[in-house]
Subunit: 587 residues, 2 copies
C-alpha cells in the first residue's frame, strides 16, 4: 500500500495544536482563508500520494548519480520536481513581494510533512531551499533579494547549505574555506565542503549555494566565519544566466539511506560569491538557516514515522500467522496483542511528534507576525524551547517507530527492498544532520533553559498544569486519569529542570551528562500535553474517541514512566562523572 | 580499529557469572582444565581479530552470490572457514565420542561471541551447524549420528535449518512441504523453504539440511510436522559422498545487512531425506535446534554490540570537534559528556547482555550435566527462563547499542561503508530471526512464568534479593546504593509478575498486550543483578573498580527506572485492550 497523507489528522493538528484561527486573526496573512486549508491539504496529498510516493522505492534502488556533467537525479525525480514547482508549493509561506503566497509557515510545514512522508529523499531538496530563502530574506541585500528570491520561491532554482568540512562538523567554527575580496564587491571562494545535501542536480537550471567561509584575517573560531552566496551559474543583470561558476560536485557519498538525495562533496575553486549579511557574522545567518532546517528535520521524523506506521498497519492486516479468538483459520497478525501494542506505540509517538513540530511552527509564525509584542515574545520563547524538542525528540521517535515497523514485518522487514526497510534506513539520518541530537540536548539545557531566567520552561510547565486542571475538571474517568499522569510528568519535569538549571551553573559537565535523558523527559511530557490538549479540543467532534484514545494510551504508556525517570537523569549523570572512562575503557 | 575480543571481560564473565569452576566440579567435563581457558580464549581471539574481522567489511561489500553451480561465499570466507575448521573450533563443546572436545557449552559460547563480534555473517554458518548437531544428537538414530556427527563436529560439513515457508514463519505449523515414504526407509521431500541461512555455499563439500515437512495424512497444524535430514550430497555407506540430492538454492535474498550470510530460497524437488525422531514430533526436535539458536542469536546481539562499542570508543578518541576543559585546542569528542554518556550506556548494556547470555549457557550445561538432580532441575528452570531474555533483551539492546554507535560517529555513521553502519545493519536481523522478540515475550509470559507454578521467576527473584542483601552488607556506599536500586527493581518485577501471572489466567489478551514491556523489565532487572554479582565477585581483584562502575551506572541509569515502569506495563496494556483499533486506524 503506498503512502497516503493522513489529511484529517494533519488538519486537526493544524486546527487544535497550531491554532490556525489565531494565526489568521493576527491579520498578518491577508491571503489566509480557513476554508482553503482543506483544499490545499487535499491537493498536496494528491502530489504526495500520486507523484512522489511511487518514486520512493525507485529512488531508493537507483539513487542519484554523478556524471562528468554534474549530478543526475534519480529516475522520475526531475519530472516530479516540475510538478512540485508548477503547483506553487515552494512559495506557500513566503512573502507575496517575491512571488510567494504569504500564508502561515505552519501550513507549509503540513504540506512538507506530506512530501517527506511520500518521499523523504525528494523532500530534502525543497527543505534546503527553505533555509536558503530564509537566510537571504533575513540577511541579504536588496539586490540579492531581487536576484535570488523570486527564482527560489517559484522553485525555478533550488538552494543548498554549504557548512560542513571534513574537520568542521558540529564544530563549524573550525572551517577553513577561504573567501578573498576581488575588489569589485565579489569574493573568490576556495575550499572543500562535504555532506552537501542536493548540492548539485539536474532538476533546475541553477543551484544557489549559501556557503560559509573565512575572510582573510578573520578571527579564528566561529566568530570569524562569514556567509556567501555563490550560484552554480552566475546571474546577469537582466536575470538571465551567465558563466558557470567555479563550484562543482566532485563526489557523492554512498549512504545507508536517502539514496535519491545526492550528498555532495563540493569543490570551490575560486568560485565567485557575494557576502550575505555582515562580515564575520556568518554564524547568525547560519542559525537562520539551521533553525528552519531543524524544525523541518523533526518533521521528517514525523513523516517517515507516519509512512512506517501506515506500512505496518497494512502489512499486519494482510499477513496471516497463527490463530486469534473469534477468527476462523489463520488470523491476520493485527489480531495479536503484541502486534497491536507495537502499532499503538507507533501511532501515539507519531501523533505526539507531529503536535510538537506543528506547535513549534505555529509559535514561529506568531513570533514573527503577532501584532501584540507580548504575544510575539512569548511565542518566540516557545519556538526556541520547542525547536530542539521538535528536532531531537521527533527524530529519536522516528528511529523507534521505523524500527518497530521493521519488526512488525518480521523477516520481510529485513529485506532491502521492503518499504519498511527503506523507512528505517532513511530515518537514520534524521538524528544526525542539522545538529546531532546530542547537540540539541546541549542547546536545550545550555541555552533554552536559561533564556529570560528560565521563562520558556516555566511557561510550558504552567500551560501543562492548566491543561491537567482542565482535563480533571471534565470529571470524566479517562480525562482524570490522563490528568494524573500529566501532573506526574509535569512534576518530574519541574524537578529535573530545577536540578538541571542549578547544575548547569554548579557543575556543567554533570548537567551535560544528563542532557539527552532530560530532553527525552521534556519531549515525552510535551508530547503527552499536546495529545491531551487535542483530546480536550476534540470533544464533541467525530474523532473525539480516537483522539482521546491516543492521549490515554500515551499517558499510560509513556507519561506514567516520567516520575521514575528523574532519579535516573540525576544519578546516572553523577555516576558518569565519578566513574568516567572506567565505564567504557575495557573495550 | 578492527575488532579485538574483550578477552579479559569474557574470561571474567565465564568465571564470575557462568561459574566455570562449578561446571568443572560436576565431573562431567573430564577434559576441562581451568588453566586452559585463558589459552583457548587467546587463540580464539587471534582467529577472530586476525582472520575474521578483516573479512567483515569485504563480506558487507561483496556478499555471497548465487551461480548455476550453487552459492559462492564472499571473497576470503572459504579460506577463513578452513582455518576455523582446522582450529577445531566447531567441536569444542560436543561429545568426544564424535570427535568433539567435550568442554562446557558456555565455553563454546564465549568463543562464538568472538566469532560473531569479528564477523557476524560468518558466525551464522557455525551457529546453524550447532543447531543441526544438537538436533541429531538428541533425536537422531545411531546410524544418523555415525553418519553426520563426526563430519559436522569436525566442521568438514555444515548444517542448515529449513523451517520457514512463505505462509509459515512464526506459525511454523502452517508449513506445506511434503515428505512421502519411498518404501526403503527414506522419504521424498517436495516443497519450498525460504530464509534459509547458509542453506548452500562452497566452503565445505556437503551441507546437511534439517528440514521440517509433513507426512501424508499428518494431522494439520504443528502436531503434524516431522523433521528430516536431507544432505546436499547423499552419503554412501563408507562415508564417501554419493549422488547430488534434489535440494538446491534457487534464490538469495537481498537484505539490509549480513550480506555475506547467504539467505537462501531452497527448493526440494523430491529430495531424499530420512526421518529424525518420531513422526509428527518435529516440533520437539525443532525446539532443540531453536533453543540453541535463540541463545546464540542473543549472543550475536552481545557480540555486535561489543564491536559497535569498540568502534565508537575508537572513533570518539580520534575525532576532534569543539573544546573541553583542560584540553588545548580542539578536543577529542570522547571528552564531551554527552558522548561519554553514550559510551557508558553502550558498555553497560553490552556487559549486562553478555552476563545474561553466559548465565543461560552455563545453566544449560548444569541442567544437562550436574550429578545432582535438584541442581539439574533448578538449572533447567533457569535456562528456560533466561532463554527468551537472552534472545530478546540482548538483541533489543543490540539495536540500541549499534544505533548509539552510529550516532557517536555523526555523519560518518550514516555512510554505508563505515563499520558502525555495518554493525547497525547486521544487528537488525537479530530481534527477528529464531522467533521474533514478540514471540519471545509471549514465550516468557505464556510458558516460562507458569512452569512449576511460577518457580523459575520466584527463584530468580529470590537470588536477586540475596545479592541485594550481600551488596548492602558490604556497608560500602556504592554497593548500598546499588542494593537499593536492585531491591527497587526486584520489587517492581515481583509486582509485575504477580499481575502478569494473574492476568494470563483472567484476561490473556490483556496480559499479552504487556508482554514486551514486561520482558524489558525482567531483562533490565536480571542484567542489573548480574552486573552486581560480578561487582561483588570482583572485589579485591584488579578490575574491581571497573566492574563496580558498570554495576553502579546501570543501577542508576536503568534499574532506577524499574519501579516507575510497572504502572506503564499494567495500564498501557489495559488501555490498549479498551481502545483497540482506534489507536492506529486513523492511518
Amino acid at each position: 500500500m503506498p503512502y497516503t497523507a493522513p489529511v484529517s489528522q494533519i488538519a486537526a493538528t493544524l486546527q487544535r495544536i497550531a491554532r490556525l484561527d489565531e494565526l489568521g486573526a493576527t491579520g498578518a496573512f491577508p491571503n489566509f482563508d480557513a476554508e482553503l486549508v482543506g483544499p490545499i491539504l487535499d491537493e498536496a496529498n494528491k502530489l504526495a500520494r500520486d507523484v512522489l510516493a511511487p518514486l520512493n522505492p525507485i529512488g531508493h534502488k537507483h539513487g542519484a548519480r554523478l556524471t562528468d556533467g554534474g549530478v543526475i537525479a534519480a529516475p522520475g525525480f526531475a519530472d516530479a520536481y516540475r510538478q512540485f514547482r508548477d503547483g506553487g508549493w515552494m512559495g506557500l509561506s513566503f512573502p507575496e513581494e517575491y512571488g510567494g503566497q504569504g500564508l502561515p509557515k505552519v501550513l507549509a510545514l503540513a504540506v512538507m510533512e506530506m512530501v517527506h512522508g511520500a518521499n523523504m529523499a525528494f523532500g530534502l531538496c525543497p527543505l534546503l531551499s527553505f533555509g536558503t530563502i530564509e537566510a537571504i530574506l533575513a540577511h541579504g541585500t536588496v539586490e540579492q533579494k531581487q536576484m535570488y528570491l523570486p527564482k527560489l520561491i517559484s522553485g525555478e532554482w533550488t538552494g543548498a547549505m554549504n557548512l560542513t568540512e571534513p574537520q568542521a562538523g558540529s564544530d563549524v567554527g573550525a572551517l577553513k574555506t577561504k573567501a578573498v575580496p576581488n575588489g569589485d564587491g565579489s569574493y573568490s571562494i576556495t575550499g572543500q565542503k562535504i555532506f552537501i545535501t542536493w548540492g548539485d542536480h539536474d532538476m533546475t537550471e541553477n543551484v544557489v549555494q549559501l556557503v560559509l567561509a573565512r575572510l582573510p584575517d578573520a578571527p579564528s573560531g566561529s566568530r570569524g566565519i562569514s556567509l556567501f552566496v555563490a550560484p552554480k551559474f552566475l546571474v546577469n543583470a537582466d536575470g538571465s544566466l551567465g558563466a558557470r561558476n567555479a563550484v562543482r560536485c566532485i563526489g557523492l557519498e554512498h549512504k545507508m539511506g536517502i539514496h535519491a538525495s545526492p550528498t555532495c562533496v563540493m569543490e570551490y575553486a575560486g568560485a565567485k560569491g557575494w557576502l550575505v549579511g555582515e562580515p564575520n557574522r556568518g554564524l547568525v545567518a547560519m542559525f537562520t538557516m539551521m533553525n528552519s532546517a531543524r524544525l523541518n528535520v523533526g518533521l521528517e521524523g514525523v513523516a517517515v514515522g507516519e509512512a512506517a506506521l501506515q506500512a505496518a498497519v497494512a502489512y499486519a492486516g494482510d499477513r496471516k500467522q497463527g490463530s486469534a479468538p473469534g477468527v476462523e483459520g489463520s488470523a491476520a497478525i493485527i489480531r495479536h496483542p503484541d502486534i497491536q501494542r507495537s502499532l499503538a506505540g507507533m501511532a501515539a509517538a507519531v501523533q505526539a511528534a507531529r503536535a510538537i513540530c506543528y506547535a513549534c511552527g505555529s509559535a514561529a509564525d506568531l513570533a514573527e507576525h503577532s501584532a501584540d509584542a507580548a504575544v510575539r515574545e512569548a511565542a518566540k520563547l516557545r519556538e526556541d524551547l520547542l525547536t530542539p524538542l521538535a528536532k531531537a525528540w521527533s527524530t529519536d521517535r522516528a528511529i523507534d517507530v521505523t524500527n518497530t515497523g521493521v519488526q512488525v514485518h518480521g523477516g520481510m522487514g529485513f529485506m532491502a527492498e521492503t518499504a519498511a526497510a527503506q523507512f528505517y534506513l532513511d530515518a537514520r539520518i534524521t538524528p544526525i544532520y542539522e545538529g546531532t541530537n546530542g547537540i540539541q540536548a546541549i542547546d536545550l539545557v545550555g541555552r533554552k533553559l536559561s533564556m529570560n531566567n528560565g521563562a520558556a520552561m516555566s511557561a510550558l510547565l504552567s500551560d501543562i498544569r492548566a491543561t491537567a486542571r482542565e482535563a480533571r475538571a471534565t470529571n470524566e474517568l479517562k480525562f482524570v486519569t490522563i490528568a494524573d499522569r500529566l501532573d506526574g510528568a509535569a512534576g518530574a519535569l519541574e524537578e529535573a529542570t530545577a536540578w538541571m538549571t542549578a547544575t548547569m551553573k554548579a557543575a556543567r559537565e554533570t548537567a551535560l551528562s544528563g542532557a539527552t535523558s532530560y530532553l527525552r523527559l521534556a519531549g515525552d511530557t510535551a508530547g503527552g500535553w499536546y495529545l491531551t490538549r487535542a483530546a480536550l479540543e476534540a470533544r464533541g467532534n467525530p474523532d473525539a474517541a480516537q483522539t482521546l484514545a491516543l492521549a490515554r494510551f500515551f499517558a499510560d504508556d509513556t507519561l506514567s514512566r516520567a516520575p521514575g525517570s528523574v532519579a535516573s537523569i540525576v544519578s546516572a549523570a553523577e555516576s558518569l562523572r565519578d566513574e568516567g572512562a572506567a565505564l567504557w575503557s575495557a573495550s
